[in-house]
């Protein structure tokens, strides 16, 4: 397997002696043009990798902020193909920033795992996190992704014991997404000390970078979490910026607001030095 964008990026971040900032945004919220601007703004303000949310009507693992973002994107008729087209547009002039599509299994299943894998690779997607495809059920995507060097990014949680972690690690690539709190996205935050041993175990068993997410909203929280992880994922806080912009009926401001937050977070993670 050629070295993936994800591997290259995590190696670079590690060499810089810091944790990666992984930013999540919902594609199509409030519209695709704003999302494109937002992708660029996130990258320009220090996001090391971007999780591109694919909207689904029934996001079981998400709290209200991301649920509503998905409904806004769907109200705007954002399809899975639109999400891929958005990625492809971003790839036209960015060959380095890893793009991970995050969503639920059904839209991908409906498109067909093979067809999706080919289209995602063509769009420059580097991997996916499909929340409701645990290791027991993701063999079909592993098979489909193999030919396209797409990463299967798995979730680990505080309920994952060491035996289970071996199962989670087997077949995973890119990085592991460590869900810090048992709960939905946007809920309360975890105490880094409480999950430190779980994250270490995940790193040891998987040999992959481990990014911690769920409940991280501020630079301060990100810095605290960065001490125990290879990366921090911030989601609902970015989605909230998109919502504020769309409530104010200024979608063009979405990118600006999301960029500001990315800058705050990436600066904090770099020990106070602004990105680029």
């Amino acid at each position: 397997m050629p070295t993936s964008r994800i591997d290259t990026r995590f190696a670079k971040v590690k060499a810089e002696g810091r944790a990666a900032l992984v930013a999540y945004m919902m594609a199509g919220d409030p519209d695709l043009e704003s999302s494109y601007q937002a992708l660029c703004a996130l990258r320009d303000n220090g996001a090391d990798a971007i999780e591109l949310g694919a909207p689904f009507t029934d996001p079981m693992a998400d709290g209200p902020a991301i649920q509503k973002a998905a409904l806004r994107a769907l109200a705007n008729k954002t399809s899975l193909s639109d999400v891929l087209a958005l990625a492809k547009r971003f790839r036209e002039d960015d060959q380095e920033t890893p793009l991970i599509m995050m969503g639920y299994a059904n839209p991908v299943h409906k498109m067909g795992y093979e067809a999706f894998a080919a289209a995602a690779a063509d769009a420059g997607i580097d991997g996916t996190i499909l929340v409701d495809l645990p290791p027991e059920e993701d063999q079909p995507i592993r098979d489909a992704y193999a030919a396209h060097d797409l990463s299967v990014i798995r979730l680990a949680t505080p309920t994952t014991d060491e035996a289970r972690m071996a199962k989670v690690a087997d077949g995973a690539s890119g990085f592991l997404y460590y869900v810090a709190v048992a709960g939905v996205t946007g809920a309360g935050s975890a105490d880094p000390e409480e999950i430190r041993s779980g994250v270490e175990m995940a790193q040891r068993v998987s040999g992959l970078p481990v990014c911690v997410g769920f409940g991280i909203k501020t630079g301060e929280q990100a810095v605290a979490m960065a001490k125990i992880a290879d990366g921090v994922v911030v989601g609902s806080a970015f989605v909230e910026q998109a919502r504020l912009a769309s409530v104010a009926k200024t979608p063009q401001v979405t990118a600006e607001k999301m960029g500001q937050l990315a800058l705050e977070l990436s600066t904090a993670l770099s020990g106070g030095v602004p990105a680029k």
């Binding site: 029934d58 079981m60 693992a61 649920q67 059904n106 839209p107 709960g183």
Partner: protein, 403 residues
């Protein structure tokens, strides 16, 4: 494919019925559903568990429910003999309690102290709240906002029983959203909470264990008909929401391949209108709520809201075993519109003095045609899975009567 003798061996060790079923849940829930499976296997082997269930079924629920020869319905159609399995006589008025008792006893074995449930019509919510009251457990019921509005009597019943009702406004505020919200609560409270799912759907092992608990219906019916008629029926029929009452009736007959298994889905305003709840007749395979099964969905894989006059059938999916039985041809699935169900509701009430719930009214609506198909010498059992007291307000409204 050698299918004979294999029908009752599903699901396989991966929780699959053919390609359907499985465990499509977020990682947070995986350890829990694996535990649940282990605990369920242990309970199944434990005579004390069975004895406790039997005792509660007999003295709390009122089992066995009668198998009743519906003489006047039979006369009305003038064809095959029609029997009704009277599960509407159960405590709380529907088959739902069969399953709730089983799950709540399992929850207690697992040391869980808080029970959550989703409900549409409110029947499963009432049954869960009832069993929780009986055992002194905390009960939280998630119910779509729209359903809270159209099922007020059941909402009050649940409150009387000590349950907390959480109205769900996310999505479209119906059963599927209540289920999403219950799953969200569950991932948040895995340590002390048990999710009591109301139908034979969800991640493995739920479809299997709900089926097993509901199979008391079919086991009784099978013994009762053999005693009454000295032979097996030609067909057994039931309505399909998520499919629990149907699979409970079907399963004990599943190896008897001469017995036709007939499910009836709600086609609402008609399949062609797009406003229906017939996942098998108007949907496609997909992944939702922990299992792979037929679903109402768009070409882009987004879930479409179901519509049915019956809140208990108003669900865009169906239990995975039904998807399997349909694709293999072992069972047949018919449909019934809102209007046809209303007519059947009135017919049964007038002819038999039994006010059926709107859910089994859907199966009743197809009974005449099936009886005719079976002919004069034929015989069939229909699952009267719920009583209609809860529905009199919505029926009055649909008929334009003010009460």
């Amino acid at each position: 494919m050698e299918l004979r003798n294999t029908w009752d061996q599903w699901p396989d060790e991966n929780g699959r019925f053919g390609e359907f079923g499985g465990r499509y849940v977020a990682e947070t829930l995986m350890p829990l559903i694996l535990d649940l499976e282990t605990e369920y296997r242990a309970a199944k082997q434990d005579p004390a568990f069975a004895a406790q269930m039997d005792d509660l079924w007999a003295h709390y629920v009122g089992r066995p429910s009668p198998l009743y020869f519906a003489e006047r319905l039979t006369e009305h159609f003038g064809a095959a003999k029609i029997y009704l399995k009277r599960d509407e006589l159960n405590h709380t008025g529907a088959h739902k309690i069969n399953n709730c008792l089983g799950q709540v006893l399992l929850a207690m074995r697992m040391g869980k102290t808080r029970i959550i449930a989703e409900t549409g019509a409110g029947q499963h919510g009432v049954a869960t709240a009832t069993v929780c009251a009986r055992f002194g457990l905390k009960c939280v019921v998630f119910m779509g906002e729209t359903d809270v509005e159209r099922q007020k009597p059941n909402v009050f019943r649940m409150k009387l029983l000590g349950a907390e009702i959480v109205p769900v406004s996310s999505g479209t505020g119906t059963l599927k959203d209540a289920m999403n919200e219950a799953l969200r609560d569950w991932v948040t409270n895995v340590h002390d909470t048990f999710y009591c799912i109301g139908t034979a759907a969800g991640p493995h092992p739920y479809p299997e264990l709900v089926r097993d608990f509901q199979s008391v219906i079919g086991k009784e019916a099978r013994a009762q008909i053999l005693e009454r008629e000295g032979r097996l029926p030609d067909a057994v029929m039931a309505c399909i929401g998520g499919g629990s009452n149907a699979i409970g009736l079907f399963h004990p007959f599943i190896e008897d391949e001469d017995v036709r298994l007939i499910g009836v889905e709600a086609s609402g305003h008609g399949i062609e209108t797009g406003q229906h709840a017939a996942a098998l007749n108007g949907g496609a395979p997909g992944i939702l709520h922990g299992n792979k099964t037929y679903l109402l969905q768009t070409d882009d894989g987004q879930i479409i809201d179901a519509h049915s006059i019956s809140a208990g059938l108003d669900y865009p999916g169906i239990g995975p075993e039904h998807s399997f039985l349909r694709d293999t041809g072992r069972a047949e699935y018919l449909t019934c519109t809102d209007e046809e169900a209303l007519e059947a509701f009135q017919l049964c009430t007038r002819l038999e003095g039994i006010i059926p719930a709107l859910e089994p009214s859907h199966a009743l609506a197809r009974v005449g045609e099936v009886a005719e198909d079976l002919g004069k010498d034929g015989m069939m059992i229909l699952n009267m899975c719920g009583r209609g007291d809860k529905d009199v307000f919505s029926v009055a409204e649909a008929l334009g009567v003010e009460i």
